[in-house]
């Protein structure tokens, strides 16, 4: 009889498979976590400030207080994720010790290392990482990420960057799938990713892990659009709890994500939600304030 083996890539990416078709919501209190679970979120992201507040308040954004993560873990039964700073492998060790279900090595927090990301293959807990293009996604997977989310521009309520990133990743995968075998060596060089992984993506026409969308999703229609563009699921950060009616908006985004091709359902759930988060146009953000440009 075989030994039990923990922390394999199959087990790590397997949990992401189970989240497909679902919505993962940012929460900053146990009360918000309860609202998210009641609305049908597949997981919650426990953090101290949603991206919109990080953006507004400035300063260095770090891993959350363990007490907050524990309180949220006690409140809900669905998986609990938490964010570590890019490259901050000790924050990741702490989050693993707290037994969170997934770590997001996130550009929403202030990077701790401007050269290296975390070596994620060393951990039993799985990681999700942001990406703006295919090369970035493949580099994160090489480092051990078991789930990719497009970055979008967190905390804006402007979905345009999320659109750009999912379209870019999808079209780069399609272009890779159309290449001849003898063209993949140069493709690997251009993508700055290992040849074997590039070859796998070319042959299979998809990423080897689940691809969610994040950053700027604020309405049920935003979520459904990301699903129609080929996302496996959606992260909603500030979009729920910075809106006028978080309870109803959370439920509406869950429904629209599940029924993403049914415009009648999306229309129905879009009624009477009150104000969406106010939002910032990405074009009005000075380049140094764009979170999606963190990570490489």
């Amino acid at each position: 009889m075989a030994e039990n083996t923990v922390g394999t890539l199959r087990i790590k990416s397997g949990l992401a498979d189970m989240l497909k078709g679902g919505v993962i919501m940012d929460v900053v209190t146990p009360e918000q976590a309860r609202i998210a679970e009641d609305a049908g979120a597949v997981a919650v992201m426990a953090l101290e400030r949603v991206p919109a507040d990080i953006r507004a308040q400035g300063g260095v954004a770090r891993m959350s207080d363990p007490d907050l993560i524990d309180a949220i873990k006690r409140e809900v039964k669905i998986p609990v994720m938490a964010k570590a700073r890019i490259g901050h492998f000790v924050e990741a060790q702490v989050l693993e010790a707290l037994e969170v279900d997934y770590i997001d090595e996130s550009e929403v927090l202030s990077p701790a290392d401007y050269v290296n990301h975390i070596d994620k293959s060393n951990f039993t807990v799985p990681f999700v990482c942001g990406a703006t293009n295919l090369g970035e996604a493949l580099r994160r997977i090489t480092e051990g990420a078991a789930m990719i989310r497009s970055k979008g521009e967190a905390g804006t309520g402007d979905v345009s960057e999320a659109t750009k990133h999912i379209r870019t990743i999808k079209s780069e995968i399609a272009a890779l799938a159309a290449k001849n075998a003898d063209e993949l060596f140069v493709a690997a060089k251009e993508l700055q990713a290992p040849y074997e992984l590039v070859k796998w993506v070319s042959e299979n026409g998809k990423l080897p892990v689940v691809l969610f969308v994040a950053g700027g999703v604020a309405t049920p229609a935003d979520a459904a659009m990301m699903m129609q563009l080929g996302a496996d699921g959606v992260f909603v950060g500030s979009g729920v709890f910075k809106s006028g009616n978080p309870v109803e908006r959370a439920k509406a985004i869950v429904k629209a994500t599940a029924a993403y091709t049914d415009a009648k359902v999306i229309a129905e759930v879009s009624r009477g939600l009150g104000e969406a988060m106010v939002g910032i146009n990405v074009n009005d953000l000075p380049a140094p304030h764009r979170l999606s440009e963190r990570g490489w």
């Binding site: 039990n4 199959r10 189970m18 497909k20 679902g22 037994e99 029924a259």
Partner: protein
């Protein structure tokens, strides 16, 4: 349903639908996604995939497919549930959400997320005497355990004794994910010994 080649549905509201479709495709078994009562009426059998059981429960209620599912299971529709699917087929659940409902069908008590958090999720191989041959490759991901098998037949246990697979008539529920482990034999066995004999 021509002759003895069934059309198998996969409940496609949330979860690892694509992995089940992949196994069925590799086995050459006709399949389709099921999201509503009309689609459910067209299939000869149903797979309830892995996912978040509380979310699948909510979505079946929101989209009005729950009553049709419960009725079909009670009428004897062959069903295979993996992980969340097992929870949804259990008559009784512990460790679930306060308002969590199941479709029922298996006279068992299932403990949700019984192994701990994701760092306790694991791969292993297990013997399934009904299937025979080499041990079955399996992934346990925040998996449930059958704490009381009631009147059902136990078809899979871990070496430590925990019950991780049960059958009652046409209904099979397992704690683990053969569909994530490139393991075709559980689906193949279910189709051959449960689904095909149910076709008239």
């Amino acid at each position: 349903m021509a002759g003895n080649s069934p059309l198998v549905g996969v409940l496609a509201l949330q979860g690892d639908v694509r992995e089940h479709e992949g196994v069925l495709a590799e086995l050459g078994i006709a399949h389709r996604q099921v999201r509503n009562a009309e689609q459910l009426a067209e299939v000869d059998a149903l797979i309830i995939p892995g996912g978040e059981s509380s979310v699948i429960d909510k979505l079946t209620r929101i989209f009005g497919v729950r009553d049709a599912l419960v009725a079909a299971i009670q009428r004897g529709l062959p069903v295979l549930g993996t992980c969340a699917g097992l929870i949804l087929l259990a008559d009784r659940v512990t460790g679930g959400l306060d308002d969590q409902q199941t479709f029922g069908g298996l006279d068992v008590t299932v403990e949700r997320n019984a192994f701990g958090s994701q760092v306790d999720s694991f791969e292993t191989t297990i013997d399934m005497p009904a299937i025979g041959g080499a041990p079955i490759r399996s992934s346990f991901i925040r998996a449930p355990i059958v704490r009381d098998a009631g009147s059902t037949e136990v078809i899979a246990t871990l070496p430590t004794g925990e019950i991780v697979g049960v059958r009652h008539g046409n209904i099979v529920g397992i704690s683990f994910h053969p569909e994530v482990s490139n393991e075709l034999r559980v689906h193949d066995w279910w189709v051959r010994t449960v689904v095909v004999p149910s076709l008239r």
